[in-house]
Symmetry: C2
Subunit: 160 residues, 2 copies
């Protein structure tokens, strides 16, 4: 499990998509502009996301991308591993370069750590992020309107 800006771009773009797909397919050009990510780079990322069946594409005018499944069933871990393909195979990974007892130490240690990290990222899904983001927006509006709509947002804020 790697964690780089590449994964962040993908998660950000997917969240943008999730928040806007109610009005039909979302164009990459739109995502690129809103999130300040280069269009061509997005195309590469969405190529991978599409092959992993996290998004579906609609060609032609009025086309764009939609989530391929419910936001609740798409985890952050799935997004990240979709674009960061070489999962973690870079280590000794069963090859011949680590010998005797120590092979196991390195291998097990890291696979255990990285599994626990994966489990965490897998427990956060796109819908969670949408709610979190909408609350933030709401909160801003509330502050603007000064205190007409108390509720929802108050709590989430604290966590960040």
């Amino acid at each position: 499990m790697r964690l780089t800006t590449k994964g962040r771009f993908a998660v950000t773009a997917m969240l943008d998509l999730a928040l806007r797909q109610d009005n039909g397919p979302v164009t990459l050009a739109g995502v690129a502009e809103r999130q300040r990510i280069s269009l061509s780079y997005l195309e590469q990322l969405f190529g991978k996301l599409r092959r992993q069946e996290l998004v579906a594409s609609v060609r032609g005018p009025g086309g764009g991308y939609c989530l391929a499944r419910d936001a609740r069933s798409i985890s952050v871990a799935q997004i990240i591993t979709a674009v960061d393909e070489p999962l973690d195979a870079t280590q000794c990974g069963g090859k011949e370069n680590c010998l005797d007892e120590h092979r196991c130490m390195t291998h097990d240690l890291w696979s255990s750590l990285s599994r626990r990290m994966y489990d965490y990222l897998d427990s956060v899904n796109l819908h969670d992020l949408m709610v979190q983001q909408r609350d933030k927006t709401t909160h801003r509006v509330v502050v603007h309107d000064h205190a007409v709509r108390p509720g929802v947002s108050e709590m989430v804020r604290v966590q960040l």
Copy 2:
């Protein structure tokens, strides 16, 4: 927070150190040989670990490295951020390239995610890993005594 093989090397080396420092300072040459990491690369990593005061060095014959503090007080997160220095400042990070409402989305989303990951890695310390590793070794010995040498790797393999 980045998570790459560089961090894995550092954690592995620190664990090797922690498991052997009872007999005095541990040489990098020893770590290099046992863990199959190049000596010069280890020197670079330990330079950073020393500057972060996670390890202390002893020069001259019989010298080497020791943990600078108790294993319980050194977390995996500390090790990783020590060697992967540019913590996470690579994003929009308060700069001018993200505008209006969307700035907050990207920024808050990722800082929240990455903070939770950090918290997790910060909750695992070197002592935890030592215990985990020693248990595994013990377990292996038991199996070993059993049959005619059914292969050291047999058990450990399962987990992978």
